[in-house]
Symmetry: C2
Subunit: 224 residues, 2 copies
Amino acid sequence: MTIQAVVFDAYGTLFDVYSIAALAEKHFPGKGALLAEQWRVKQIEYSQLRTLCSTYKPFWEVTQDALVFVCRKLKLELSFEAQNALMGQYAKLQAFPENLGVLEQLRSRGMKTAILSNGNPQMLDAVVKAAGMQGLFNHILSVDSVKKFKTAPEAYQLAPDVFGLATKNLLFVSSNCWDACGATWFGYTTFWVNRANAPLEELGVTPHGQGGNLTDVLHFLDKH
Amino acid sequence: MTIQAVVFDAYGTLFDVYSIAALAEKHFPGKGALLAEQWRVKQIEYSQLRTLCSTYKPFWEVTQDALVFVCRKLKLELSFEAQNALMGQYAKLQAFPENLGVLEQLRSRGMKTAILSNGNPQMLDAVVKAAGMQGLFNHILSVDSVKKFKTAPEAYQLAPDVFGLATKNLLFVSSNCWDACGATWFGYTTFWVNRANAPLEELGVTPHGQGGNLTDVLHFLDKH
């Protein structure tokens, strides 16, 4: 086996972001799913735009900016209370049900693990605790240290640097296809957790493995 | 007046992309507007992702990739005929009705003009001809020469370089708010043609001028 460490994306991969839509639905009946989807798209767009333009700010703030914009676009009045509730949800997302077991399996196999996330350190600390994942990672890496969001090469470089391992010997795991594709371009071995059974992005690049949930990462590792 | 040249974005600013939705509606009844909107979002996303990852390919191909992906996502069967028709539309977009008059006004005032577009040269040549705009620009600049899409600084640098003018003395005009914001960050004087009366992006930056169509650029110039 050539994989020497597993590097996980955070939001959507380890932490269940679907609860956002349910909470949004409570505040904006009939619009929860639309708000959650557009919020996520805008959050990623802003992170990429700020990276291209060298105007980094922490992901927590980018996330809040995206929420404010999308509510304005959808003509939803965002009360202070709703904003705090929706942002607060990001700090206490739960893990997908299979995730803790998979992370414990990896530890019992002696596999090293890390998170590599757009989230700033405070966000990540809070969500790791909320999901009961303290102590399950060798490293929690935030792009905040390089002030560039994924898919910038400086962001992906953090994991090979901290492990002192060749990028191809790291398995990068993400539920975001664009992230898995960016990491593949960068040189990682990659696994796309395709929870929503979405089509592959048309980027001319294919992650090395694909599955429906995090358990499939273990099956991939058995073969690599 | 300190503005010495006007630099226009192409798609959506000079050329009317709304005809895409009408054509999409013919091929996919009931889904035309959704397809057109998601196609545009995905086209921009791919251009930014490829710029971040240094995996440039011409905008025509990126546009086609985005169309193929979005049809797959929306579970629409994209026939060879529909693909050719929709892509072909990009090559023959019409100008917004006021645009030719505004460009001629700028010429009669002795103002220098350019296009600065993500489109590759072949796309731009075709669409400028289709819209009857030959000879109305001093320069037609494509990011293809630097292999990075907007909002990369190398893309925005093309216009100050070709004119030999300070960036702040160039008025950059775009109907895409993210593009107007990126250009503002870069140092241009900027004007957002907000045709759809959309909210300002939450990026902490505001274009210097704003209006509902291209004619408002003339009013802005009268005051600057």
